[in-house]
Symmetry: C2
């Protein structure tokens, strides 16, 4: 299972046996995840996984990165292109070309912009319009409920589970947008069609939603506007969430396993973290859809519509276990990583 964040402890943390025996250990976010019933976990269809195998590391060890593709209705034009690129084996033999610290790892055709040398793209890739950065008026992001405290959107009856009001003081929030939550395991912002009521639950139809640049999210490299990229050049976030890119670039998924094989690569010393020599690049041996990979484990994520996830997010916002003396009382949506596990 994916490692969740926990407190800073010494290498060997040995609580006294008296403490361990006498005091029940306070509940942590990990405890909630571990106790979630099987029905709160969602199996990801292997056909919605990208399995990217990098060249072996210096010691010959395998380096696999598994990416969950963005579910509909978001970014589907680029996702369709990516499926075509995989089917054409186009990604096989390209490379990681850029690693910029506290920003992104990017992979693509090193000669993609060199006339006469660029690897030809498959035919009939879509040209995705800039309007696709934002998904408007789709039933999936249609209706949800603001509870009568104005503090949180109800989780049970809705598709979008939003956390903008997890923060008790009413003037806290997110610096980038007012309302946000999760759709099918992906962090999104939501533009509401109305304002929260002063009392009583009401239904609100959001006008639009868009995915967010949290750690591990995968996006589509592009040239200057109006270019939107094809999906042949991709990047993963490996630092402070670059939320200024939201609504400016297509997000097509998130890394659910093996992010360390990208985030621990040597940083490029060229402009924007590009590698300056071919030798520095990490070759990509192959990219396959999950259902093409024999022996791939089954991946599940904790349903972001589940009560377990709501409790987990709430606990992330209000840590009061034995390491924390001051609960934050709030949490950034990008600091609520969606738990993922493998199952046999």
């Amino acid at each position: 299972m994916r490692k969740l964040l926990t407190g800073i402890a010494f290498a060997v943390l040995l609580p006294s046996s008296a403490t361990a025996a006498d005091t029940p250990r306070p509940v942590t976010p990990n405890d909630i995840v571990a106790a979630a019933p099987a029905s709160d976990w969602v199996r990801i269809a292997p056909s919605d996984l990208l399995v990217m195998d990098l060249a072996a590391d210096a010691k010959g060890g395998p380096r696999r990165v598994v990416i969950q593709l963005m579910p509909a209705p978001f970014s589907q034009g680029w996702v369709e292109n990516i499926r075509k690129l995989v089917a054409a084996r186009w990604y096989d033999g390209i490379a990681v070309v850029r690693v910029q610290d506290n920003y992104v790892v990017q992979w693509g055709d090193p000669d993609g912009e060199v006339p006469g040398k660029a690897k030809p793209l498959p035919k009939r890739l879509k040209v995705v319009p800039e309007t696709a950065y934002i998904q408007r008026n789709h039933p999936k992001i249609g209706k949800y409920v603001w509870d009568n405290m104005g503090q949180r959107l109800a989780a049970r009856e809705v598709t979008v589970t939003a956390f903008d009001r997890l923060n008790p003081p009413p003037d806290y929030g997110d610096p980038y947008w007012k309302t946000f939550g999760f759709v099918d395991g992906m962090p999104v912002a939501v533009a509401l069609g109305g304002q929260p009521p002063s009392s009583g639950p009401i239904e609100i139809s959001p006008q639009a939603a868009w995915p967010l640049h949290c750690y591990g999210m995968v996006g589509v490299g592009r040239n200057r506007s109006p270019d939107t990229g094809t999906g042949a050049e991709l990047y993963a976030v490996i630092g402070t969430p670059p939320r200024q890119l939201d609504r400016n670039i297509g997000l097509v998924g998130r890394v659910i396993a093996g992010i360390e094989n990208l985030s621990s690569l040597p940083r490029g010393t060229g402009n924007l973290g590009f590698y300056e020599t071919a030798a520095e690049r990490t070759p990509i041996v192959s990219v396959r859809m999950g259902d093409e990979v024999p022996g791939l484990p089954a991946y599940e994520y904790l349903s972001t519509d589940s009560a377990s996830f709501a409790a987990y997010a709430d606990k992330r916002a209000n840590r009061k276990d034995d390491f924390y003396i001051q609960p934050a009382g709030g949490v950034d949506i990008c600091n609520v990583p969606v738990p993922v596990r493998t199952v046999k």
Copy 2:
């Protein structure tokens, strides 16, 4: 100079010559930094720098990390301990013991918790109280001015430059605290003694302030409360800002050079990202104060009280150069990295 974040571009970005010749390039945050007058840069005293040399990398290349210690009034008990530990050469020969992806790199005595094997600490290290996580009622964080738009705190006349109101909609903000800014180059939250006025500038005396867990910030590993750590075990943030640690742990500085020598280390496979074998650890050859290191370049940061910094932060919140089609209209304080440069 430290690399600042920029848009996602292809490996070779070649705008057409017509565009380059005919249209003035829009101003970017980097442009503002590059144009800042010399008077807006603050020289960091070498005696306030920690210079940590890791063992050479696999190719024999040097790996140096430079840390600016937290300026007064914050965290000075731990900072004094760190100065004593350097003077005693205590850090020489310890190691990086933990690298947890999207969280922290941690270094210390691998045997620190093993009875009979722990490296003895220098005498007379301070036991810092938990109250030191928050700095209360100090003149340096004493008074500043809320401008008459209620949008931003004025930068020129004040010590704390706050950005909580950079976000135009009044109900945006930070998930962790309502008001925040920078003190002497460090990101801090501020607990105000009053509320912003509806109109007209007024002075507000904050009651307290504390530094924030942004990328690259350095903190003090500790055991469970009421332990606060000595400074012998330190960590640096290498992922999503773990702001839930604010007010729960001492922050003693930030990495201003060489963060990639920490953030690109292999992740540990043990619990919490600890290395499972001694061979995986990266030895720390030496830690010295900057004024002990011959040939160290002079480091400067862009004064967080300067007009240049205010313009830079504003531009970070409102990117509208040729890559961005939709300015965010806001920015997380941890997404406003303080620019650093070296000078001869």
